[in-house]
Symmetry: C2
Subunit: 307 residues, 2 copies
């Protein structure tokens, strides 16, 4: 299986363990579906599912999640420390391995249309699937949250991409689209001065005029009493990790502060490391086909499924 | 297929295309075998095969190569610009992906024993499979080459690991063992002064007291008129690529010379790049399980072959 598209739907329920268990049970019997992870967060009152598989399996699992979530969750009663706009808040499609962005976008749009048809709720396309620049960033779509949605849907600029421009009080709306996997890491600084982390964060992140596709949050590692910066890269193909880290190092150097170490957060696509290695090693034109494991896997795949 | 052991046997025949074609034909019908590459070299008069597959497939293919090579090649008539000791000169087993060195060594030893039993020729274990320090390096086993083999076999220190200590004039002896994949790259220097490449090569390579597991050959890139160093790492787990390149850069800096670029030669295991990325990015304790594609592949394998 060379081509992998994964999905990470966010359901607005993180307290009811029984309900989440019932969803996992239903996911596990979908033919061909691979459930990668289930992260329930009771503080934010949301659960993030992560799965992959062939398109039929993804669609079947996805529509089941909508059906169950819309039946179970009443947004009029939902509380949670995280911006959200609907019971099944966001359904991202993520290209991995040899999957292209184009086919991931196409899959997400086809799925968004099915959701609108089957459940008759407003569906917004975001990320790489967005049809309007404003909708590229989910923050814009979520602005005003569920509570502001009724008003927002009256604004013609916020006509949904699919489904009716009608406020559904129990379900809210939903956001569907393709995005790159998010890369997150912590850079632990060689200082206990949090102000330095704040300064550097401000310099490097997109919101304050730094690098595109970057958010940076300063903080303290309370155990070791050192300042740290948590960085998230929303499009690692356009903004490779080495470039972000090197700018962070350059700005920290103004205070004679070094990066003591870097800790990766969550799962990371291998291409992130391979591209960084190429930069530092001075490799300018290596073909990925010359990575041994890829060549072998390609030949195995050809042998197993002759076309 | 997560666990991959590949083999790269060297046959002492690089001129007779018909014979090589007949070997490839026979390899292609071995059940489960994946032929990765066949490199015929008429100047050195040898052909290097590269294949992988389950153990039965590897053994069947390997024994076939011995049978055909010993029947076809008469070492009394063999000429070639490369040290060699027998008709099937060396049969390396290489651990890739999740294959451990231990199981690769075990497989190579079992295979060596079968070769001795079936063909009654002297078999030396080398590389990670060697039972004596002297035999670790194939150069030591090949010293004196085929022409010196009769004499060498009379020396009790050169009793074969398997098979008789008897000189076989048509077949010679053979060398079998496990070794890491060799990593080769060219460092193109920012100078046309070949003497700098010579100096740096001498400093970094093992033979003249530099880094273990390293050979370095200075030369000129005739097209761009710049000096270059071709480096080979024989054990990249013990001597990661970034360490070699950084020592090379440090020594070149003595002459204010930079590495203009690095060109990788042949197929490279991805771990080489990932470990180098960890070094440069300052990642100290990342678990390989957190590489997305590995996690997914593991779960796919579990799903497909429930144990």
């Amino acid at each position: 299986m060379n081509k992998i598209i994964s999905c990470v739907p966010n359901v607005c329920e993180g307290k009811d363990q029984k309900f989440i268990d019932s969803l996992v049970e239903k996911l596990n019997v979908v033919n061909g579906l691979i459930v990668l992870d289930v992260s329930r967060d009771s503080v934010r009152n949301r659960t993030v599912f992560s799965f992959t598989g062939p398109q039929e399996a993804i669609f079947e699992a996805g529509l089941m999640l909508y059906r169950e979530s819309l039946a179970h969750i009443d947004m009029r009663e939902h509380q949670g420390e995280y911006p959200r706009i609907g019971a099944l808040d966001v359904f991202p499609f993520v290209p991995l391995k040899d999957a292209t962005l184009e086919e991931t976008v196409a899959m997400s749009v086809a799925f968004a249309q099915k959701v609108a048809e089957e459940f008759n709720i407003p569906v917004f396309l975001y990320g790489e699937s967005a049809r309007f620049p404003m909708r590229r960033y989910i923050e814009n779509i979520r602005e005003g949250e569920y509570e502001g949605l009724e008003q927002k849907l009256k604004d013609p600029r916020w006509k949904p991409d699919f489904g009716p421009a009608v406020f559904n009080p129990t379900s809210g709306a939903t956001v569907v689209g393709a995005r790159y996997p998010m890369i997150s890491f912590k850079a632990i600084l060689d200082t206990s001065d949090e102000a330095i982390a704040e300064y550097v964060s401000r310099i490097i992140q997109h919101a304050s005029g730094g690098l595109a596709h970057i958010t940076a949050n300063p903080g303290m590692d309370s155990e070791h009493k050192v300042a740290q910066i948590t960085v998230t890269i929303s499009n690692y193909r356009a903004m490779p990790m080495y470039r972000v880290l090197e700018m962070l190092r350059v700005e920290a150097r103004r205070f004679a502060v070094a990066v003591r170490k870097v800790e990766m957060i969550g799962l990371i696509p291998e291409i992130v490391f391979i591209e960084s290695a190429f930069y530092y090693l001075g490799i300018q034109d290596f073909s990925f086909d010359k990575i041994l494991e890829r060549k072998i896997q390609t030949q195995l795949d050809e042998k197993i499924q002759p076309s």
